[in-house]
């Protein structure tokens, strides 16, 4: 691995956590920056959605996370493309219930005009627990 690749990997590791934190906090302005305009996401629901619809779901509160932990397992660099794979555990708020979900994921980051952006994401379900009543924090 070249020194440039190692630097890119460390940068992506940081961005992976920053993006996860922005998802957890419904931080739309950070997500606007981190997501490519032509982002494609294939979710565990087998729905393919783009940036606009995903941001709309976050803004409207229909995509809301109580907890979200991302654990990258592998980050591989291909020049201006980086593929990060790993697993995630989250608690999704669904009405008055909370659903704990374990997934595997693959994120593809690309460098455009000097900045890394998330270009594509695929999520595969590992396990989904039964909904539990939402506890007020």
């Amino acid at each position: 691995m070249s020194a440039t690749d190692a630097l890119g990997q460390r940068e992506i590791e940081t961005l992976e956590q920053r993006e996860a934190l922005a998802m957890l906090g419904a931080d739309v302005s950070t997500l606007q920056t981190l997501w490519a305009d032509d982002l494609i996401v294939n979710s565990t629901a087998n729905l393919i959605a783009g940036k606009e619809i995903l941001l709309e779901m976050i803004k409207s509160g229909r995509l809301k996370l109580r907890t979200y932990e991302r654990r990258p397992v592998s980050i591989v660099t291909f020049g201006d493309l980086v593929v990060a794979t790993g697993n995630e555990v989250s608690q999704l708020v669904a009405g008055s219930a909370m659903i704990k979900t374990f997934v595997s994921y693959m994120n593809v980051w690309t460098k455009r005009t000097g900045s890394w952006q998330l270009l594509a994401r695929h999520v595969g379900l590992i396990q989904r627990e039964k909904p539990e009543p939402l506890q007020q924090s």
Binding site: N46, I53, S60
Partner: protein
């Protein structure tokens, strides 16, 4: 009914056994101004349809437990009250989508295509 739902919002029944897919489609459609109602299989859908107002559209998975999408369609067309309700089939069975439906969308479902197709069968433009 949701607080922001209006009485004349187009009504859509989402028949899908996969909880993730069903809830995501319902949330998406509600966000776009439709009154989306979930059903976990064909039998649940029929039970709902026999006691509720006729929907403007049905989104139907094919491969489901209890009553699959083919059986549901067969029952739907026998019922004079329900037979003309348009149906969009969503399925991963691209080579087995041999079902009489208005539209077939192959999974994974492109959200933009789904919303465009839904808007063609519902009476008014959804919320932008």
């Amino acid at each position: 009914m949701r607080e922001d739902e209006k009485k004349d919002d187009p009504r859509i029944l989402v028949v899908e056994d996969d909880e993730d897919a069903r809830e995501a489609m319902v949330a998406l459609l509600q966000m776009k101004g439709y009154r989306a109602v979930p059903a976990g299989n064909g039998q649940e859908a029929l039970d709902y349809l026999r006691r509720a107002p006729v929907p403007d559209l049905i989104i139907l998975d094919l491969w489901m437990p209890v009553m699959d999408g083919w059986q549901f369609r067969s029952e739907q067309v026998k019922d004079p009250r329900l037979k003309n309700v348009p149906v969009i089939v969503v399925t991963a069975l691209s080579d087995r989508a041999d079902v009489d439906a208005n539209e077939v969308i192959i999974k994974p479902v492109d959200v933009n295509r789904l919303l465009t197709t839904v808007s063609q069968y519902c009476r008014r433009e959804p919320t932008q």
